[in-house]
């Protein structure tokens, strides 16, 4: 079986030593996970290596770490992939960022992550007593909030949030995504208060700098930044909350840009809209956060990314898409639980 080298960041508050690196050789198939690797080292060589883990299946959210500098779940990162991305063939495993390290790969999630979750009043606040049977709500709404329910509170997004690095008080990606779970839930009766509260907090909605790190980091496709954008839109469009950073206006500029050019002219946008950073992989995510997306786009032959990025798609297709979506009343949003990607015609 192939050998992999794991370079693990070690730290114990008890022995007085500074944090340091330690290498471990593991012999496991490349399709096994980095977590399996760490556990093998722990089982065979040093039982004192600290890592939280439980499900081994990317479900419990325990094993968030940084692998080769990027946050991820150790249990869903294959050794061969991690090896391929490692700088000199050594897989580097270290604790997540933005949270104090307690021991080795274990960080203090209570002090940061959970405190922020508690900040957003994370429980349903219905108006009045419940109905006799279930609340009757549009199926799409439930599917929509299920995207944020998919969050396993692993903290990977928090680890690499650029705004939080600058402003530790920023409510942050996971907690704001959690907030959308209530704001987007038609059973909640406090949508406006919630949105106002988050918009008016100087460390709230408008503190995000669209760095996309949370979207990239999230192992569950929760796309926290998209949820933040949607909260901002709801704040601006539905409740006329004054936008501190003009983020909403920038987004409109973005939409207009696509409508006009048929594809994204990054040059037009870079100076003002997205802080000079536009990650190509993020475009589909951004598109999915447009205010109104037509069902036809979901069912049609093209993927949103295909429609907008491939040069051979004529701008008139895009114009048609915009005509269609703006003619609609409802606000549909593409979502991971709605099969947004249909087969390409080719």
């Amino acid at each position: 079986m192939p050998d992999y080298t794991l370079r693990i960041r070690r730290y114990s508050p008890e022995n007085g030593d500074a944090a340091h690196w330690e290498d471990f050789q593991v012999d496991l198939d490349g399709s096994r996970s980095v977590l399996d690797g760490v556990l093998q080292a722990k089982d065979r060589e040093d039982g004192s290596i600290g890592i939280r883990c439980s499900c081994r299946a990317g479900i419990c959210g325990s094993c968030g770490v940084r692998i080769n500098g990027k946050p991820n779940l150790a249990c869903r990162t294959h050794l061969d992939e991690a090896h391929a991305r490692a700088a000199d063939g050594v897989i580097v495993v270290e604790p997540m960022g933005n949270m104090p390290v307690l021991k080795d790969l274990i960080v203090d999630m209570d002090a940061v992550h959970w405190k922020k979750i508690q900040r957003v009043t994370p429980w349903l606040l219905p108006d009045g007593p419940p109905p006799e049977r279930e609340y009757v709500v549009p199926p799409d709404n439930m599917i929509d909030v299920t995207q944020t329910m998919a969050c396993i509170q692993c903290g990977a997004c928090v680890s690499d949030c650029l705004s939080m690095e600058v402003d530790p008080l920023f409510i942050g990606p996971a907690a704001l995504a959690k907030a959308y779970r209530f704001v987007g839930d038609p059973r909640d009766g406090h949508q406006e208060q919630r949105v106002r509260d988050l918009a008016e907090d100087p460390h709230g909605l408008y503190d995000c700098t669209h760095c996309f790190n949370c979207i990239e980091a999230c192992p569950k496709g929760v796309a926290p930044m998209s949820q933040i954008m949607r909260l901002r839109r709801i704040a601006g469009d539905d409740h006329h909350v004054e936008d501190r950073n003009n983020g909403h206006r920038h987004e409109m500029a973005f939409v207009k840009n696509i409508e006009k050019n048929g594809l994204l002219h990054e040059a037009d946008l870079l100076p003002d809209s997205y802080g000079g950073k536009l990650h190509p992989r993020a475009v589909p995510e951004l598109v999915s956060s447009l205010p109104i997306i037509l069902r036809a786009l979901q069912r049609g032959k093209v993927t949103p990314a295909g429609a907008l990025l491939h040069k051979h798609k004529a701008p008139k297709d895009v114009k048609r898409i915009f005509r269609d979506i703006e003619g609609r009343e409802e606000r549909y949003e593409l979502n991971l639980y709605v099969a947004g990607e249909e087969e390409d015609a080719s």
Partner: protein, 565 residues
């Protein structure tokens, strides 16, 4: 100076669905509540439940039909009074969850929608995509945060032992704060065990690494009998090697099973229900195909999800699309995935009545740690979440009411020191085998000898191996001697629990000389109602082999029949 001992009306051990539901119910009764878990509550294993939760909520459905399916699924070993309660109360429980904020899947009219599940005569499984357990657990945790004034949460605390007063009543527990190693005696008028299953006794298993049977062993050690421990469910669709589960929801949505010759073999074994027969039936069918040489070379058969429309798969089975990609390198929307039966669930547990009471006064048990028994010889898919919630709630209510009439409990402080000393002793050991090695040997052995097909010879072997491992575990060594997040020492304690539980599983399996539900004895291949329509109880007998006794199965209106699917 002696610190004040934390004292509550109700102490709940475990913060999975059963524990959290119990906490909310007890708080609702006005009790002061502490809930404790060795991992953060949302990391509890309940989050792995993918498929859904059963309830006869639809007006065309009936609780009787749900109850009958459950009883038949249990191979008539389930207690019918308890099953009646569970099935009658299921609809209200699902509505309660919905009102608390669970984002259940809706049908086109915006009402709760269902999916089909194995062993059920109607589509009565309510779900949230394929993250049902996770969604339920996170919503209950929202409620725990909401009720933080009545419910004290002790997150990342490890219970080492249950505490007793001089009369043998359970009066709380002893716990170690994982963050700093401090040991504490928690006093409580009523204590509810909700510490989940014991799947780690087998390797591989679909269960999380934390499912080490702690509560079963802790209750057993203070004299509460365990019941039906031989009944260990092998789930038909787990990934070879790692043991990760592919939810039954896949078959519910229409996926088929094929052997290596491309035959849809379930046509032979369950001509009516096919892939949706009970789990024991499907697992045995697969294992028979594999044993008779019609499986693939890696000891698997194929699950073909491409039969389900791709859009539906992406919408309703999203998580297993990820699992297929991440853990098997397969795009399940385009090709079949190889699976085999794997250890999944333990129907047995601490014997508890319909209020969750165990044989030890003051101690309750709910969820997978308990055996009420609603699952009997074989649990139906999507009935376990229901069990955790119904009996979690009932235990919480009863425990709170019981506490209301009681004075201050009198735990014995010396027990705290015993537990502290035991941990100190583990850290001082030298020269023995590594804890991890013993755990590995135990799991591999159990999966070989105490699996889908069992016989006297294999089980006797298994028993002597468990006894040897128990001896070795007394000297097993660890590396970490620290206090902060010393997971190593907790691993040594967990190994001790697993060995107790494993021994009870093996002894129960040896004892039951018939085939019923998940227990299939090749040397006794028939169900034998005349001699074995009864529960097997196992009680601690010092350090010896557990003491076996029996108790009758409660039958209300459904007489045992032959079981075909």
């Amino acid at each position: 100076m002696v610190r004040a001992m934390p004292a509550h009306d109700v102490l709940i051990i475990g913060a999975g669905l059963a524990g959290q539901r119990a906490a909310l119910a007890a708080a609702r009764q006005g009790a002061t509540v502490a809930i404790m878990s060795k991992v953060h509550p949302v990391r509890s294993h309940s989050n792995a439940a993918a498929g859904g939760i059963n309830a006869a909520l639809n007006p065309d459905d009936s609780w009787e039909s749900h109850a009958f399916d459950t009883i038949k699924g249990s191979d008539y070993l389930g207690d019918q009074d308890a099953i009646e309660i569970m099935c009658r109360e299921a609809p209200d429980e699902v509505l309660w969850l919905e009102h608390a904020g669970v984002t259940f899947h809706r049908n086109a009219e915006g009402k709760l929608g269902t999916r089909a599940f194995g062993g059920a005569s109607a589509a009565r499984t309510y779900y949230i995509a394929d993250i049902t357990g996770q969604a339920l657990l996170h919503v209950l945790y929202e409620q725990l945060m909401k009720h933080h004034e009545q419910i004290d949460r002790y997150e990342e605390w490890f219970i080492t032992d249950l505490a007793q007063d001089d009369d043998g009543r359970c009066v709380g527990a002893i716990a170690r704060n994982i963050r700093d190693g401090a040991m504490e005696l928690f006093s409580a008028k009523s204590t509810i065990l909700a510490s989940g299953g014991a799947g780690q006794c087998f390797k591989p298993s679909t269960n999380a690494l934390i499912c080490t049977g702690d509560g079963m062993a802790q209750a057993y050690r203070i004299g509460a009998p365990l019941m039906d421990m031989e009944m260990v469910q092998y789930h038909p669709t787990t990934l070879a090697g790692v043991g990760i589960l592919i939810t039954e929801g896949a078959r519910g949505e229409g996926a088929h099973l094929y052997n290596a010759d491309g035959e849809r073999f379930m046509e032979k074994y369950a001509p009516n229900k096919l892939e949706l027969a009970s789990r024991d039936v499907v697992s045995r069918a697969e294992q028979t195909e594999i044993n008779e040489g019609r499986g693939f070379e890696d000891g698997t058969v194929a699950l073909d999800i491409t039969k389900v429309p791709r859009k539906r798969t992406l919408e309703a089975l999203r998580e297993i699309v990820n699992i297929g990609r991440d853990f098997a390198g397969v795009d399940i929307t385009r090709e079949p995935i190889r699976i085999r039966p794997g250890c999944h669930y333990i129907m047995g547990g601490v014997k508890a009545d319909i209020h969750g009471r165990t044989a030890v006064d003051g101690l309750y048990a709910a969820g997978e740690v308990a055996c009420v028994s609603v699952h009997g010889g074989n649990r139906l898919g999507a009935n376990s979440l229901l069990d955790t919630l119904i009996f979690g709630r009932r235990s919480g209510e009863h425990a709170a009411k019981r506490a209301a009439g009681l004075g201050k409990p009198k735990p014995v402080r010396a027990q705290l020191h015993d537990s502290e000393r035991a941990i100190g002793a583990i850290m001082r050991r030298t020269g023995g085998r590594r804890v991890s090695e013993i755990r590995e040997e135990l799991g591999t052995m159990m999966n070989e000898k105490v699996a889908v097909f069992r016989d006297h010879e294999g089980l006797t072997d298994a028993h002597s191996i468990v006894r040897r491992l128990k001896d070795e575990a007394k000297n097993a060594t660890i590396d970490d001697h620290g206090t902060v997040f010393n997971q190593d020492v907790l691993g040594a304690l967990e190994l001790g629990y697993m060995l107790d539980v494993a021994e009870c599983i093996v002894v129960g399996a040896l004892e039951r000389k018939e085939s019923r539900g998940a227990q299939f004895r090749t040397d006794f291949p028939k169900r034998d109602d005349e001699h074995w329509l009864k529960h097997i109880l196992e009680s601690r007998n010092g350090d010896d082999t557990p003491q076996v006794s029996y108790s009758p199965v409660t039958i209300t209106q459904w007489e045992p029949q032959e079981r075909t699917y």
